[in-house]
Symmetry: C2
Subunit: 359 residues, 2 copies
Amino acid sequence: MCRIDVDRSLIEPRIAALVARRSGVPAGEGVPDACRAMMDEVVAQGVSSSEGGKRLRALLALCAYDAFGGDPARRDAMVDMACAIEVFQTAALVHDDIIDESDLRRGRPSAHRALEDWTGDRAIGRGLGLMLGDLLATACVAIANDAAGRLPNSPALVDAFLTMQREVEIGQVLDLAVERASLLDPQALAEASLGVFRWKTASYTTIAPLQLAMLASGVDPERARGVAMSIGGPLGLAFQLEDDLIDVIGSSRTSGKPVGGDIREGKRTVLLADAIGMADPDERGELVAMFEAGARSEEDVRRAIGLFRSTGAVDRSKSRIEALWASTRAAIGDAGLDAGAEGRLTAMCARFVPDVAGR
Amino acid sequence: MCRIDVDRSLIEPRIAALVARRSGVPAGEGVPDACRAMMDEVVAQGVSSSEGGKRLRALLALCAYDAFGGDPARRDAMVDMACAIEVFQTAALVHDDIIDESDLRRGRPSAHRALEDWTGDRAIGRGLGLMLGDLLATACVAIANDAAGRLPNSPALVDAFLTMQREVEIGQVLDLAVERASLLDPQALAEASLGVFRWKTASYTTIAPLQLAMLASGVDPERARGVAMSIGGPLGLAFQLEDDLIDVIGSSRTSGKPVGGDIREGKRTVLLADAIGMADPDERGELVAMFEAGARSEEDVRRAIGLFRSTGAVDRSKSRIEALWASTRAAIGDAGLDAGAEGRLTAMCARFVPDVAGR
């Protein structure tokens, strides 16, 4: 049984409790009086930064646990494992916001900005933000390690969790490399962008939730990895492509949201690579100049969106997403689930690509 | 048997091999061509940043493993666990250098500065440095987890390793808090500084190496923690106090090394707190004004060193170190070791406080 709303109501308070317990000072220990307020503030910021996610990754993990026949008596441990994935995401976002110098996250001040405001000192606030990311990264492994001890395949679970963490960190490095890739070879840029999605997005968004859930259900580690890659690999890529597409054309589900943020920041995306690749020479020169410049005006953003559409880059992304979603559906079909479980897992996976899967 | 030189020659190449294997792209996987050079550079920097430490922590862990009767047949796994502690330190130093904006580490460019130079881009270089710290932090847990699986007390070993990591991260937060503590209550400042040493230094320098070694030797987890705290707690504090003292008066072993770096940076240390506490009102006002200013001249540094001596703060630190070293020796005596093992462990611990223990 997949129980999205019930699961969401289980996950949310559990994340807050786990973050407070695992990133703060251990019970029974004290810190010097002069330091207590700052330590408390950092932990409070950790709890606050953990709020407000869509929890798709945790929900996928729990849905897959049920679909692959996970023991209902041990589902509590799987809830903790699912929470550990979400805490890992928060840790990664806290550091990501420092790297990108982002002021906002989920509509609120990013963690390091909030801590800068609290201390009134930019350097100390940023330092505290960096340490909060470290504390959350350590906390998520501790949560996962504890959950693994209460589930089958314990060593493989810890291994898979650490592999996920490493893959995302590699993905962040690769993502910085893509930002420096040449715009003059759009084919290579599109391949590099798509290649990086497997590391920076699919790893923890779809592959790890599926793999951890299967391991926790007692599935053999090699099979768990194989099935998770075949279902989660294309799904994670489709999710990132749809996310990039929504940034340009908006979503049927979030109409009215401002678009063009990636263009404004000059991000190297698959859409940009496709547009440069399919543009005529004049338009190509225009796009390259625009994205090699230090900043882009609102007029530039509108023009780029126009070119992303007129060159066929938007349609190409939609076709890519449809093909990837078809792969995911086929892989779910091959996973040997009964019809009910297959339907529920398909519906859960469809939530990662609502604009394509909903049609 | 404690075999310092042999152990050092085992540890050094093993760290390089483990860092390369655990922080790079996993065997059998590839990354996009456009990203490969940057990924390779980050891993190479990780290996390079791991070089050049004194390895006291790893040597203590191996010496304690032998002293507490660790199985010689499993010593390879203990070597890896000892390396994991060193890799953790490197991870922490990479982030610490970003927080402190340090240009140098162990006489070479700090990791984020080296990556800034390599990319020619300050923001991307700093971002890569931050991710390298994350990659090394994940790698050290993976190394520890793998080693734990080949040793007794596996779950307790992983737990202790993650606790060490969390304690140091808490210590870094507390350390930033001490930097903002008032100079007008030197008693509270001295207590806060000493209190933070337990988290930021003793945790991974002395307590964890002893605790992990005892667990790996099959000692009951509760006893391992208790004995590690009683030997390693005071030793870690003494080590940090001696480190701070050497920064002010130099060491008999490193005469000629420039002194006063902490004073130049305006660091809140136990020495400073003691000096302010024991100074007469005029000198107190002078020290407070000097350390509340944005920067200190070479003349200020000389004057501060003079006051640290004349007020008795230097002697007070020496007495503190002697008392802590006496506690450590007593705790080693209570650990129930045979005379040979006790002597070898004492000699190893003495390396953490050479200026006091050598007298």
